[in-house]
């Protein structure tokens, strides 16, 4: 995995990977629970219709129609669940001591954006609502003056800790770049 990441980000010799972040596991668990609920709906409907309109399941036209609709419903839910897992798994953020890399996956698109730490202007880590506060996950907003105006780490674990660490790294990277610039001035 780390070798893959080193190649993926084209890691520089002095660069260290500090964070590899995905959405918190609880986000995926909540999605899975929602899908389990969606899978249970036709079963409930089957028992409800079976007791109130039993003729629906005896009729030679409505029965196959209901089976086909049920099949379509289950396949749709199953596919949406799979794509939402891919979306969860392939969206990630990498923080190194030099930059932030944001990888976002959509159904027909993949976006990879990068931000140098010394360009960061402001960082906010926040947990909103009951679940985020309870399970300590939330958003980290990275404000920059560059072309990519704002980086958003969505629903990552320990957002305030991540924001604090990125702020530290930003300060170190600024000092490093200032020293490099001073050295360059001396040589010229």
């Amino acid at each position: 995995m780390s070798v893959y990441l080193q190649k993926f980000i084209n890691q520089k010799p002095y660069e260290k990977i500090i964070y590899f972040l995905r959405r918190d596991t609880i986000v995926f668990i909540l999605q899975a629970l929602l899908f389990i609920l969606l899978l249970a709906i036709p079963i409930g409907l089957y028992f409800f219709l079976g007791t109130t309109f039993p003729s629906l399941f005896e009729n030679t036209i409505t029965y196959p129609l209901l089976v086909i609709l049920g099949g379509i419903y289950y396949l749709t839910v199953w596919l949406v669940f799979f794509t939402s897992f891919i979306d969860y798994y392939l969206d990630f953020w990498i923080v190194t001591n030099d930059r932030i890399i944001n990888v976002e996956q959509h159904l027909f698109a993949r976006t990879i954006s990068e931000l140098d730490l010394y360009k960061v202007q402001d960082i906010t880590g926040e947990s909103r609502g009951f679940l985020q506060t309870m399970f300590n996950y939330g958003h980290v907003f990275v404000q920059t003056a560059g072309e990519v105006g704002r980086f958003n780490f969505e629903e990552v674990p320990n957002p305030r800790e991540v924001a604090r660490k990125i702020m530290e790294l930003t300060e170190e990277d600024r000092k490093y770049h200032a020293n490099q610039a001073a050295k360059l001035d001396q040589t010229v």
């Binding site: 129609l65 086909i68 099949g71 379509i72 289950y74 396949l75 199953w78 993949r110």
Partner: protein
Amino acid sequence: MTLSIFLIAYFVFVFLFAVFSVFSIYHLARFVPPSSVAFFTTYIFLAGAAIIIFATWQELQNVDWTQAVFTLNAGL
């Protein structure tokens, strides 16, 4: 119009499902960091899809698809 129209609609849906599935699996295979998670998830997804299609097919085995759903009145 016979009952087979529903079956045709179902086949069209299964075809679309297959197209989107291939696309999703391609995404997973192409972009995921190498790990057993991708393999395991794809396996579970394909197994689940096969079970759903098989269960539907089992339930529809004894259906007479030639029976009429609507009878159009010739006098109209």
